[in-house]
Symmetry: D2
Subunit: 323 residues, 4 copies
């Protein structure tokens, strides 16, 4: 079988670089076009320098749908919708959008929300995927089984801590090494933009809405998100574990553990790990992912695999960094 021909729009950014790190070794796909206005004419390895020896691709100014089977949109929020309006894709080309332009039902325009743990049956039939947000993925993985089972009996209290790569490669005071190193800070307490997609997914499974109080922190590490969510419930810890294990039993990347985990268990992998603990009437779910993989480009490749009928894990059996 010939390889799936992949195009990337906005190929100089962080999620695009991560896509290429994955796809240079994917057995069934190949990046044939890396579009970037800012870097046009440069070798991909001049920007994503760790790909040395892995690719001779050069950034191009334009994309040609005729040469593509799938297009990943990797530019900033708002730009995907603009691009597609000006460049409508033919039926032959699948679209996987990493921005937040089409994630919410009211904005979806035919896009399927690409969280396999939630929409597993729908994704393989989709032609357009709205790839979930990183915090949204992490928090949902910690809550979806409970929402479906209806055991959430209070508001939800969530804290999440993200690595710096979540903010991409644009330079800013809060991503300046001298500031960020050894530092912690918050942003968008209670108002993070991912709350909407989380809310819709919980409603989809629970049949009713839940309040999520979400405190996001900037962490002084580069990769990964760890989230804690707790709520009142009558369910026991054992019952909760049974629900979560059943919910994720066919998911190749999402693992339930009964040992207190740490973030580096998932760094540089497409895995999600969930741990549960009951104290009094509160059930705590700890969930963690790599924000650039399961939280972005890894999940995007997982969606590509599902759409094209490939092994779901193709190209995603990644060596964790471990350290």
């Amino acid at each position: 079988m010939s390889k799936i021909r992949v195009g990337i729009y906005g190929a100089a950014g962080y999620t695009a670089g991560e896509l290429m790190r994955l796809l240079v070794h994917h057995p069934n796909a190949e990046v044939v076009c890396a579009q970037s206005e800012s870097q046009v004419g440069k070798k991909v390895t001049e920007i994503h320098t760790d790909l040395i020896g892995d690719t001779n691709l050069v950034f191009s100014a334009h994309l040609d749908y005729q040469n593509l089977d799938v297009l990943f949109l990797c530019k900033g929020h708002g730009e995907s919708r603009v691009f597609l309006a000006g460049n409508p894709a033919p039926d032959s080309v699948k679209i996987i959008d990493l921005s937040n332009d089409f994630r919410l039902k009211a904005d979806a325009d035919g896009f399927v929300y690409g969280l396999p743990e939630l929409n597993g049956p729908a994704i393989p039939k989709a032609t357009m995927i709205a790839n979930p947000g990183c915090f949204a993925t992490c928090i949902q993985v910690g809550l979806l089984p409970a929402a479906q089972a209806g055991i959430i009996q209070s508001e939800i209290h969530t804290t999440g801590i993200t690595g710096s790569t979540g903010a991409g490669q644009s330079l800013s005071p809060t991503s300046h090494f001298s500031w960020r190193n050894q530092n912690m800070s918050l942003y968008k307490a209670f108002t993070h933009q991912h709350l909407d997609e989380i809310g819709e997914s919980l409603t989809q499974l629970a049949g009713k809405s839940h309040v999520v109080n979400f405190i996001p922190f900037r962490g002084n590490f580069t990769r990964g998100i760890i989230a804690t969510s707790y709520f009142d419930t009558d369910a026991s810890e054992a019952e909760a574990y049974a629900l979560y294990e059943a919910f994720y039993k066919d998911q190749p990347f999402t693992h339930v553990t009964n040992r207190n985990p740490d973030l580096k268990m998932v760094v540089n992998t497409n895995k999600a790990v969930v741990y549960l603990k009951k104290e009094g009437n509160k059930l705590l779910a700890i969930s963690m992912i790599d924000n650039l993989l399961k939280g972005a480009s890894g999940q995007a490749v997982q969606n590509m695999n599902l759409i094209f009928g490939l092994e779901e894990t193709a190209g995603l059996n990644l060596k964790p960094t471990g350290f």
Copy 2:
């Protein structure tokens, strides 16, 4: 005036080292005895190597109350009570205990809980001080004004992230650099031992008890604690700010800010910083301290200053690291 003669019991550990970093430059106090069983006979600068050029003190096996005006107890939890039982202090020697042995009212045995923001009037009259815990100090600073004003109308939801020095110098898998670096993890969710002292202080001010749901994280930085606490309240953000500013107006180290802060504002200082934000019916308080200073040795020196009638800030006007 001759300098206050200071003894330190357990002088080889982290909080003791921090005490000595402070006291070598304190205008009114001098460490005359640094007791350590494990390091007896060695120079202090062999263990606390950054004191090079600042002290010629040698660790000694024994303490002699006759030579001391104040004794800081810097060994592990449980050991202070044992030491004092075997070595009862004369009235002439003040005791400042950095362990958790005497913090709770039921265990106090005459010790005063040494949080100046809470017990300012009582501390100068005390002869024995139970120095608060680090997480306890940070979280209380974020909650005390609200508790006193009676504006906390729900359970309290608290997250705290601590630097590695909170775990001291003993080697453990969770303090191993290869594991801890770039990593995040939780411990003692809902059951941290500092909840008891926090609870007593809230009750002291509020006249009733409050539930604090506390999720403690291990951070991948060395110094500092940042905590977030929120609860339902009818009070407006402006009302809350007014309460907090009034509560802390005479406190030299505790500052209320209306700009979203970051942890390094307080690192290597004895400051506490509090920031407030209202969203919907929730009031969020962000509080932060340096765990070894305002959370331990700095506050211990502050208590010493108060007991001996010195300027409260003596020896505590510290240059922040900034970076």
Copy 3:
């Protein structure tokens, strides 16, 4: 073809964990026995927790040569020789030793020094491989082409900085997070144990000995080694580049770049990257590897691939962390 059956002696340590991270996804090999005295009976995922979902292996007390095609020795220096003396391997089992027991010619006892860039032709015929040291690999990659070409006309001046995983998982003051974070220090200046194997390799290629003045630093990062080596030479920068590119042209993992590199280009890969710069009469070579991969377990798998006639890159097309 059935998979190569792999045994690991000392399977609870860092290099063994890294081997398993590689081999769980290797297309032609499978770990069938993970020996560890200290962890016998525990699941491998209890120790190497990031392998969750990847293996059900349990640590075993013993190894049975009959079930193995290759045995990796992953215990401390000196222990490999003791083990093999007590448990001589049959001809049917290849041995790959990650310690320094058999690296030097005087100690080799039939082992081949397993640096493919140096001993490419000999390795496929070997039955016993002495896997090179991490610093030794990094520094040699920067010097071998120059040694072979005879262009080194002075003593060599080398600095190397290593990540903390080079010191393994044993707890020590210099691997304590509170000490190591934000810190730098030196050890074994001019006397590092890897100088012997470096010296032998240079002599093997140059036909004469070279003096290497080596200053090793402990870095405050977890993975990777960066080394700088310079020496007087009449060769121009262009001539040097030509030599290095020719020397490495058939090496799948070693890349020569003409852009000033950074360490994270190689982290979590089996790559080595070399950069050259001429200033005055000095040629500077910067070389870098991941100490646990090209500097240990990755190179061990590369050697396994060569011995068993597999694709040299099998199981080693790794996604870099990038960040």
Copy 4:
């Protein structure tokens, strides 16, 4: 005595912030004017946020020499000369320049090179001080006694690793947290701009020039510089120690140690620490400073103290971070 009135030109940058961190607690000096074009009208605490509670100063557009006793110039290289040309200082105002505009003898225009270890007698008589560079200070501290004694019998081989604050607050790809964290890289090998001032100082003491081969690294930490320098010598280690101890015996901040040091011994202090080791015919000197203190603003205050006849350590008895 009234306090020395301090002005700062370019007060929003890193070295200026560090100056203010020092001067808010200096017993004999007070910042009366903080000039910044970019931040004019803002509170100093909006930019240097860790000064909360310490100052009410507001950035101003202009400086008035009549209100000043000393002016620190804290803008970029080249800007000090331009400023002074347009705003010549009256005799009553001392100038301390932190840029490299006046460090070299050919450019000095009456400025004295402000390294107290080198020019101790000249500084108190100076009216204009060229404050040394950070790498220059660190490397000179490791070499000056040997140069003066004439024991350097070969080229000098130097490696230095600097924290990120050396690059200031301007945002750049190499100071982006996601790139810099866990990373190492080099810049300006053999050609660093500080080599000129180092060379002049060595010549001043040795009466002849020395070759310094200098490899500068960017470290993944925020504060500090560690440098290693070695050269051939007939002097023994004991002789070298005697020379260094004699050379620095009256220096309050520069300490010679016979224990292998680590960088955090000096972080957040104005200290320099030097360690010596002889191997074969090579003498190795390890030296370390905090780049923002002894390498910039701390040394600037030390120079101010010397000029105004204050205690040399006034305002500079700083608590190290330790961790």
